[in-house]
């Protein structure tokens, strides 16, 4: 089930997008989310599409792969489109079959809004596909750093995030292992009435909890043994470096925003 999900998975490659500073990528996503709402006519949408596909091609992640991974989300996009198509009743009727009518405005909004949705998802996937989770964490830690002044525990939060990221694959393996062990003892996780299936979760969850607690305890011991005693006095090994390409990419996005403003109606 998890095998086919690519959302949130990192695909290693050597591309300019991969090499961007995670902070610039995070800022770009943030800006992009705002900018998308400027577009309101075919020209501006075309511009957004061109920009997004430029980013996709720069990332060197195979397009086929992105689409395959986005399949579950594409249904949502299609649903959004149909919703607008059927429920908007403005403009001229462009199609009619009995009581069923499609209005011009419906078609227009359907296409635009689902496109907006689609482009947003595409851009966010590019971020997660080209940035390791730990880079995203570092980026967030750095961007949130000013919040330290108001006693916001940025270091602890970042450490928690990075340890969680570190243990997700371990926990998945563990889940798989315990599921198999209990299946071998006659538990059926995949079929049967809902009530039975809910009951089947207990023999999975309890061992998972027990082992997670044990892990957490051992990890804490290991961390202590290696001299961890909070964020104070700690140096940082990972360093982010903001380069010309980051400034350039951000400027490109600002330029796009300006163009959209000029072209919107």
């Amino acid at each position: 089930m998890m095998d086919k999900m690519i959302f949130g998975r990192y695909v290693p490659a050597q591309s300019i997008i991969h090499r961007l500073d995670p902070r610039s990528k995070l800022l770009m996503i943030f800006l992009f989310v705002c900018i998308v709402f400027i577009a309101n006519n075919p020209a501006t949408y075309a511009l957004l599409v061109v920009y997004t596909f430029l980013m996709v091609s720069l990332s060197k992640v195979p397009f086929r792969f992105i689409i395959a991974g986005l399949k579950p989300v594409l249904w949502l996009v299609l649903f959004t489109m149909l919703l607008h198509l059927f429920l908007t009743k403005e403009g001229e009727i462009i199609f009619q079959a009995g009581w069923f009518k499609i209005y011009e405005e419906g078609l227009r909004q359907g296409i635009f809004i689902s496109m907006r949705f689609f482009l947003l998802i595409l851009m966010t996937s590019i971020l997660t596909l080209t940035t390791t989770p730990i880079e995203i964490t570092d980026g967030l830690e750095s961007l949130l750093h000013p919040l330290n002044k108001v006693k916001f525990p940025v270091h602890e939060l970042a450490l928690m995030m990075s340890i969680s990221l570190r243990f997700i694959p371990t926990l998945m393996q563990e889940t798989d292992k315990i599921m198999k062990a209990q299946t071998a003892r006659g538990v059926d996780f995949t079929s049967g009435p809902i009530k039975e299936r809910m009951k089947a979760i207990i023999p999975l969850l309890i061992p998972l909890f027990v082992s997670s607690f044990k892990r957490a305890e051992e990890l804490a011991t290991a961390m202590e043994a290696r001299g961890y005693r909070g964020g104070e006095g700690r140096t940082k090994y990972r360093q982010l470096s903001w380069g010309f390409k980051d400034t350039f990419m951000l400027l490109l996005l600002v330029l796009l925003a300006l163009l959209l403003f000029l072209l919107r109606t």
């Binding site: 290696r226 700690r234 140096t235 090994y237």
Partner: protein, 280 residues
């Protein structure tokens, strides 16, 4: 090997809250600079408690532990932790970083080492454990043996005087175990590292300079591997095993073959058999 005691345990006793029996009772010994000391005993003999005390994760109720002349206490614990590095049993549960280099750097970050120095130390310690080509690898793509070598790199990056392996090979496959022991042997030889390995693997203990046998929380016997393995059936009674060459020597003697002693290495035993065959 110089005979300078690096770590001293004096009449150490320890008891867990909930238990009636002492986990450790009146244990005294010394650990010398540059030696490889194996502490053996079956599960529950007190050897793991010993590791916890040495790292200041617990404190003895009676007796004292001194590290390089410094009394181990709550005040000195952070300093002694820098001198005594620990490698634990479960390779997964001590891997903190998301990649190999991050994990090695973790201890350095904690100790506030400057970044340039850190990069140098991460690289050189990964070189020493032959994991340099895995800098950016994530832990779930590594074998158990590789993870343990990374853990060792993380420890030696802090340049400790002593490294404790707390059953560090017991969850590994034979190949992983061999990798880890080979790494430790090299570290000891080329960098004069003091090694304490807490183990129930007798093959591992046979490689040590000195062995301490623990039983029921007490120091049962102390000696060179040669001396310890003469104990023979006594070891089996303690829940341990006898290395193959010793077992073989013993059986041969029972068959009426005269051997000068119980051999610890197969080569020596073969050589002795060969001489007794041709020189009679």
């Amino acid at each position: 090997m110089s005979m300078k005691p690096l770590v001293q345990l004096n009449n150490v006793s320890f008891q867990y809250d909930i238990q009636e029996n002492y986990a450790l009772q009146d244990v005294s010994f010394e650990i010398y600079e540059g030696e490889w000391l194996a502490i053996v005993g079956h599960n529950g003999s007190g050897k793991s408690t010993l590791a916890k005390l040495l790292n200041g994760l617990q404190y003895p109720q009676e007796g004292t532990i001194t590290v390089d002349g410094m009394l181990l206490s709550e005040e000195t614990v952070w300093e002694t932790r820098r001198m005594i590095g620990m490698v634990f049993q479960n390779p997964d549960n001590q891997f903190v970083g998301t990649t190999v280099q991050d994990d090695v750097a973790f201890g350095l970050e904690n100790n506030g080492i400057a970044r340039d120095d850190m990069i140098e130390r991460v690289n050189s310690s990964l070189n020493k454990v032959k994991m340099a080509q895995f800098l950016d690898q994530e832990p779930h793509h590594l074998s158990g043996g590789q993870k343990q070598r990374v853990a060792i790199a993380g420890v030696i990056a802090l340049r400790p005087s002593v490294i404790i392996l707390d059953e560090a090979t017991s969850m590994l496959d034979p190949r992983g175990r061999e990798e880890v022991l080979e790494t430790v042997r090299e570290l000891k030889e080329t960098h004069n590292m003091t090694v304490i390995s807490i183990t129930h693997d007798l093959e591992e203990a046979a490689k040590a300079d000195r062995i301490i046998v623990m039983n029921k929380g007490k120091l049962y016997r102390e000696g060179t591997p040669e001396e310890i393995f003469q104990m023979d059936e006594e070891l089996v009674k303690l829940g341990l095993d006898i290395p193959f060459p010793v077992k073989m020597s013993k059986l041969l003697k029972e068959q009426g073959i005269s051997l000068s002693r119980h051999f610890l290495s197969e080569e020596e035993l073969v050589a002795e058999l060969w001489t007794s065959y041709y020189n009679k």
